[in-house]
Assembly symmetry: C2
Homo-oligomer: 174 residues x 2
């Protein structure tokens, strides 16, 4: 367990291997409404746009705990259920690291939401999603999470000039 | 997308964040038998002991693809089903990286198995597990995967002297 750029850790952990920067994304529903967060204008990434609550997994957390924490921090909600619905792997252009997003969905009562420095959380009804300035992949993720029963794997790679390559794989949950 | 120790990648990827070295572990079943691999004697880690097939996720793969590839490489099997059953987060003692293991289960016919450099794959009947030199966490993982219906999150941290702290969280799959 000695430290160093390529020292090996417990369980044979080898930090010279390809790694993931882990995040969570949480879709919380009540009937046909879902909680989105309008990102603060001071955010470097995507200021003022709507995303689902979420953030990075910190050391000491499993993905489920991180999802509960981020949801509480950004909306004040404690959902009745919280289920892992899919995984996103995104290439980043960095030599050693991709991004891995754990996508959760859950249900809660139609509770008042508590804003944070991250942004303002709002209940959005299904028909209204299209009128908002959503993050680009949000419509597809809402569909994969709520409109089909399978577990999903989404892999995406940014393109040289613009846009991205996306592939989706669906797999039964049992 | 410029490179450098702490350059930011696509989608705001920040490699100074805590990261996971991603692995897969695959339990393939036929009736009451499961495929284990007796690790080659030349392996640095756990030589000669029995583990489930598995290995590292490589760049360009999602976890499901990695599980299919590792299973094919180590056993020759192409399972009829392959379902994500749980996640293991393990602290490593390294400053910036934990290990994340995606645990899959699947079913296949009772097919002949093909050995590889990694070790010899064998069909093991349930009653025989206890007589083998298994990796330490395998009995618990077999139980979590096959003897209960929920999705599991297992978090473990090696102890200073010996052994490890383990906590388990179960969550419905729907």
């Amino acid at each position: 367990m000695s430290e160093g750029p390529y020292a090996t850790g417990a369980y044979g952990a080898d930090p010279s291997r390809y790694q993931f920067i882990p995040r969570v994304l949480v879709f919380i529903k009540h009937e046909d409404s879902v909680v989105l967060v309008r990102r603060s204008k001071h955010k470097k990434l995507w200021p003022g746009r709507y995303n689902a609550p979420g953030g990075h997994i910190e050391r000491g957390e499993d993905p489920h705990q991180a999802a509960m924490r981020e949801l509480a921090e950004e909306t004040g909600l404690q959902p009745k259920t919280l289920v892992l619905r899919g995984l996103i792997v995104a290439e980043t252009g960095l030599s050693g690291s991709g991004i891995l997003v754990f996508v959760f969905s859950g249900e809660t009562d139609l509770t008042p939401l508590r804003p944070s420095d991250e942004g303002d959380p709002v209940w959005i009804r299904r028909g209204q999603w299209k009128t908002l300035d959503l993050l680009p992949d949000l419509p597809q993720l809402l569909e994969l999470t709520f409109d089909q029963p399978d577990f999903f794997y989404l892999y995406k790679q940014p393109q040289e000039c613009d846009g991205e390559d996306v592939r989706v794989w669906l797999s039964p949950v049992r």
